[in-house]
Amino acid sequence: MKYKYINKYIFAMFALLMLFGVYMQYSVWESTDNLKKEEINKTKNYAQKIITYIKHVIPHNLVKSLDENPSLRKELNGILQAFMTDQYQYIFMLDRKNNKYYRFLLDGSKNSPEEYHSIFFPKSTMYNSVYKNQTIQIVKQKDSIENVWISVLAPVVYDGKTEALLVLDLSKEYGAYLESFNTPLKNLIVMMQIFLAISILVLMILFYRYYKFRKHILVDGKTTAYTKIYLEEYFNKNDLSNYHIVMIDIDEFRTVNAKYGYEVGDVVLKEFVTCIKNAIYNYEEDFICRIGGGEFLVVLPSKKAKLDEFVKSLFLRLKEKRYFIKNEVIQINVSMSAIKVPKDTKNLNRVLRVLDEKLLEIKSKGKGDYGIIGKEAKDNLKYRDIDYIKELLEKQSLICYYQPIFNTKSKAIVKYEALVRLYDVDEKKALSPYLFMDLIRGTSQYIKMSKLVFKDVFETLQKYPDIELSVNLHLDDLYNKDMIYMINTVLSTHKEYASRLTFEILEDKEIFDYQKVTEIFDNLKIFGSKIAIDDFGSGYANYSYLIKLNVDVIKIDGSIIRELKSYTHKTKEVIKSIKELADSFECEVVAEFVSDEIIYNYMLELDIKYSQGFYLGEPKPIEEYLD
């Protein structure tokens, strides 16, 4: 029985119930024992009373007086008889003349009392001890003594010398009576113990069912790999950052199921897991989890395993593995992503998401490969989390960088494009939009961020009245009434801003309601603002935009500009055609991604009026360009 499937609290419950049962039993024993002790003490006092009485009758020379006076013996025998109650089997007195044998002095028995001075051999050595030490003692009698439970031996002392022993035998019947005195309580305890035993039995059955259930939910029955629930439980108890995690996905596993059937698919999966287990069992604390149909995770302790070596060897092992099914040899390909979980990482789901993204990247490149997430892992894990981004936006921890757009020929700055950055105050680091933009796009957080960007843009326009700015406007912004209301309000209040502002419409989403978008843009143009198509040539409906929207600027996408170095001639032709198109629509053209002198020179050659890129100017706080 593995401890993973056992709940320690159930064990604690078992222990408590059993302790309770034992305690109840002990209480009854103790109660009965105390009762017996009390009765024995009473008997001791009773013996003292008898001795006091005898001493009262015979103040001196007990043995001599009894030897000489048979009528006195008879009288005292009668007195002992009077002291006999139901609880006593025998009361008698012995002496031991000359330290030889014990002989009867007195006997309180009604029927056939012992003759005076007849010999008595006690089996217990306690008689001698009491004779010598002159203290009352108890002798618990053995079964060989008939009808006697306990004997109380009391010394009869005259002038410091033991003259006789008074023996009070408590009857077995009385012992049994005391034993049975607590019978109602004992019966109650027995009933409670039966109830406890039944409870324990029921608990054991439940425990067994719980064990089976836990095993069922923690271990995948088909492959014997653990389930995701086990993974989550494991990392609730263990520090995630002490481990490497490898995600394995069987490429096109559904084709195995489709071609050979699900039963064969299950056999393949089982063999697949066995193959992984053989690879990982060199390490300690490592295990494998099934998180999807053909998707698995391997968890390895980072101290014991070198991730690069392990992933490579596992990948080769799985690639080379052959499955013999129905007289056929099957080979399956896998894609793998792996991560050395960075320090202080707590969220398992983030790690899995990053692994999943890496796996998708590998699959999109053609599958059957592996990738290890390197240094970017920490950033990905920290920033690619909607809660963290939300927290930054709540704190308004957002800054705008401004990248200058130059006149290509004169290299004079004509305007600046506002580019959003979130700011990690702890690490004093500006976060690029690629880390968070796709996380928040389509959510209320995006609108919140856009409003903060526009706020910054308007403040910059106010602060620097001689500059022009360009700002991105996503379709989500356009469809948000609050957003448009805010822009319109500012522009109608500060009409001087409008003519210095260009709205760049992003092309990553298709416009379905051109009428509405046209209305918004026309309104902005009435204020005097310009409309630009951002990333022209990369996304949706480039030409539709040109046709349906009244555009002022075309910004050629960086991916096209980049190709100038590889496919110079063809790219030049494309750029020329865009320029011609722009000229015919009376639009200005801006080339993005002018990252070095070579590309800049191409822009000069192609007579592209405006250029933007790292070669000319990096995105920076506006103050760095203007103050």
Partner: protein, 145 residues
């Protein structure tokens, strides 16, 4: 019910058998100690109950011929009288305390008093019959009554 009765009688039979066995064990020990011999000890007794018990022994043998007996075993006054009449020189062992006190031919007794077993031998009477007891029986021997 029938089954219960059978079980009861079987158990009762077992208890009686056990009691007889333990009694025989005691007497086996007493008589073998007294005679210190490996040969069979012949005991004269007319008590049927004790005869049945002694019959089970490997070391003592109950007989009815007092002339061949090593020792006489008496439990009642009539038995005592009969022994004294037929063989006044034979050593007698009894289960009655009073015979020990009142008859000089009785060398020892095994009886119950105050619920306790009592085994007593009288030294000078043992000497008279040239009987010796091992050291471990010294504590049961008295010089006088």
């Amino acid at each position: 019910m029938k089954k219960l009765l059978i079980i009861f009688f079987l158990l009762y039979g077992q208890l009686v058998a056990f009691d007889k066995k333990s009694t025989l064990k005691i007497y086996d020990k007493i008589f073998t100690s007294m005679f210190s011999t490996n040969a069979t000890i012949y005991i004269y007794t007319t008590n049927i109950e004790y005869r049945n018990i002694f019959d089970k022994s490997f070391v003592i043998k109950p007989i009815k011929d007092i002339a061949k007996a090593d020792i006489a075993f008496v439990t009642t006054e009539n038995e005592l009288k009969n022994v004294l009449k037929t063989n006044p020189n034979i050593a007698i062992f009894t289960t009655n305390r009073h015979f020990l006190y009142n008859c000089q031919a009785v060398i020892g007794a095994f009886y119950w008093t105050k619920g306790r077993k009592q085994l007593i031998f009288i030294k000078n009477r043992l000497d008279k019959y040239h009987l010796k007891l091992p050291q471990e029986y010294e504590k049961y021997m008295v010089d006088e009554l």
